[in-house]
């Protein structure tokens, strides 16, 4: 069993990054995730593993530092919150286009604009549908506990390198700020230069040896037919992720007449709502997508003919619900419930929404 600690989500993700053998973190302070860089600066991982930590002058710079280090085959992690993630979008699009692996955490706060520093899930579209320009996808993980904040770092890097694709960990101010018991993984060594050469010599730009052609990291191809081919290649990769990398959880779903679909914090809250409903004799289950992209389409579609209606619960005005509807192809009635703008729904509010759904209101 790994080391047990009581930690904030933001601290856990930072400590997990050190232990995952990450080479560099670049970031810029923004609430509610500044603890990530604060923890790293205090921890001085350069003394523990040689990991580099740098506070950039802006999110534009931070994401491009990520791009640079990732281009050399280095394991890079960064984190921010909604307004900062908006600034990341240009860089994320380049990273996706150039097929660079990295892990980006978004500790979401309410928007639009400067919004609020309170938790929200209103960046779902931005994470899953491509907030930057062009046809690209991020692999998006949605932790619903401090433990998952920590665990998804290693999982994120595994996927990022397997597919040479950026990975987004989308939590929110609640998961980032709350303290829970967390079991930390043991320290993994950072890759040596020799290991990086062995694994990534076919693409990474760390200096051209005589044994190979130069490596070029780019997303540009002025020849549209080649750019289309590159896009086909990206799409094939995304289809593979959809086929092989979907993660989800089902709680009390076997005998369910109704489903709540919710992720992250909303799933945490909805778990309690399921208990409250079950105590009242309502047979309801919780379906929790863990990957927001690829979304568990088939897995949710399997409930067609089994449940009478679905309540899609999220701290936004209705973004997740679009994927829920796509998944069930209009074969199950789906309703949205959620507080937003930084407000968090209570389990009782979710229960009331569920009861209204059942009554047909």
């Amino acid at each position: 069993m790994g080391e047990l600690k009581l930690m904030k989500g933001n601290e856990a993700i930072a400590e997990a990054a050190i232990r995952a053998g990450v080479d560099a973190y670049f970031g810029y302070p923004i609430t509610p995730q500044s603890e990530v860089i604060e923890y790293l600066m205090a921890e001085q991982p350069e003394n523990r593993t040689g990991m580099v930590v740098l506070q950039a002058e802006s999110e534009l710079a931070a994401i491009n530092m990520v791009y640079g280090a990732a281009a050399a085959g280095k394991k890079v992690f960064t984190s921010s919150s909604s307004p900062g993630i908006s600034l990341y979008q240009e860089g994320i699009s380049y990273i996706a286009g150039a097929e660079l692996p990295c892990v980006i955490a978004n500790v979401v706060r309410g928007g639009p604009g400067l919004g609020t520093i309170q938790p929200s899930q209103a960046d779902y579209f931005q994470s899953t549908k491509g907030g930057g320009h062009g046809d690209y996808r991020l692999y998006v993980l949605a932790p619903s506990s401090v433990q998952e904040m920590a665990d998804f770092i290693q999982l994120g890097f595994d996927i990022a390198y397997k597919y040479r694709n950026p990975v987004m960990i989308q939590s929110d101010g609640m998961i980032g700020q709350m303290m829970e018991k967390v079991e930390l993984a043991d320290q993994r060594p950072r890759w040596t230069d020799e290991e990086i050469k062995q694994m990534h010599d076919s693409w990474a730009a760390f200096g051209k040896g005589d044994h190979r052609e130069r490596n070029i990291i780019t997303s540009l191809d002025l020849d549209s037919s080649k750019q289309e081919k590159h896009n086909h290649h990206l799409q094939a990769k995304y289809r593979k992720m959809e086929e092989n990398e979907v993660l989800f959880e089902e709680i009390n779903c076997e005998d369910a007449d109704y489903l709540i679909v919710a992720y992250g914090s909303s799933a945490r809250i909805s778990m309690k709502s399921v208990d409250l409903a079950r105590a009242k004799g309502i047979k309801v289950g919780l379906f929790r997508p863990i990957t927001l992209y690829p979304f568990p389409m088939k897995q949710l579609n399997a409930y067609v003919g089994k449940v009478k209606a679905i309540l899609s619960v999220e701290m936004s005005a209705g973004q997740l619900i679009e994927d829920v509807k796509l998944a069930v192809e209009c074969n199950i009635p789906v309703k949205h419930f959620g507080r937003y703008g930084g407000m968090i729904h209570s389990p009782e509010e979710v229960l009331t929404a569920l009861e209204n759904l059942i009554k047909g209101e």
Partner: protein, 266 residues
């Protein structure tokens, strides 16, 4: 005399730069970009740094530099090369990292990245191709465009009241403690090429010694953007660009050269 009599060892005055690829340059005939590429690649070759060097070229006419420079290359977003180079250098402190940026790139959209990379004193080398215009996008006004200069977005000439002043970013970054060697050169004559080559050597040496930023501005022509044939463009550059962007060292060994100290005070 036929060609065989001419192609002889003793008649060789110049050969193709080793570290330039065989791809046909995408630059307009007479453009300074090609010469600047060649000089940089010659120096990397002569210093034996090919396997140690990673270049970063952001958006601008030189966005395709990776087609021509036979080293590992990274194409960066407009203005962001200094941040990309920071990511590279921080994780590979012993590698040789350079950026190759235009004036629109380095002094407009990437001003923040430029100033902060210089202020942090990252151990990288920056090449700054100042042609006073946005070449790639068809000759729009750049931050470096001279007063009265006509461009696609200043068709009646740059009006300082309306459009702001030409920005001497090189003098500006020379003020920062993170910069160690700052110089302004050109590539329009053999003599200028030789001087630039020396500057490029020095710049890479400074990087090797990890003394902070080495920064080589190359004032260059943009025949297409300036709408002048190459020779006339070079004449125009000497007559108009050089008085405003004077040639020579601005900071050496971490110290401002005298003429620049005076200019900053006035």
């Amino acid at each position: 005399m036929d060609i065989k009599d001419i192609v002889k060892e003793e008649n060789l005055v110049y050969s193709k730069t080793n570290l330039m690829t065989n791809n046909v340059l995408s630059y307009c005939p007479g453009c300074g970009h090609g010469t600047a590429h060649r000089i940089i690649m010659e120096v990397i070759d002569e210093l034996g740094l090919q396997s140690q060097t990673i270049g970063v070229a952001p958006v601008g006419c030189s966005v395709l530099a990776y087609d021509f420079m036979n080293i590992d290359m990274i194409q960066a977003a407009h203005g962001r090369a200094p941040a990309v180079a920071t990511g590279l250098k921080r994780t590979m402190p012993d590698k040789c990292i350079f950026t190759y940026q235009g004036d629109g790139d380095l002094a407009a959209i990437g001003t923040a990245e430029t100033i902060h990379v210089c202020n942090r004193g990252e151990d990288i080398t920056m090449f700054f191709i100042n042609n006073g215009i946005y070449g790639m996008t068809g000759g729009q006004m750049a931050p470096t465009t001279l007063e009265g200069m006509k461009t696609a977005t200043s068709p009646y000439g740059r009006d300082l009241k309306k459009m702001g002043n030409p920005l001497k970013i090189t003098e500006l970054i020379a003020q920062l403690p993170g910069t160690y060697y700052v110089t302004r050169q050109a590539v329009h004559t053999p003599a200028a090429v030789r001087k630039t080559k020396k500057a490029v050597f020095k710049a890479f040496e400074v990087q090797k010694e990890k003394k902070g930023i080495s920064f080589v501005e190359i004032v260059s022509n943009c025949n297409s953007g300036w709408k002048l044939p190459p020779v006339k463009a070079n004449q125009w550059m000497v007559e108009h660009m050089f008085p405003f962007y004077p040639m020579g060292d601005i900071k050496v060994d971490g110290h401002l050269v005298n003429s620049n100290k005076a200019e900053v005070k006035s």
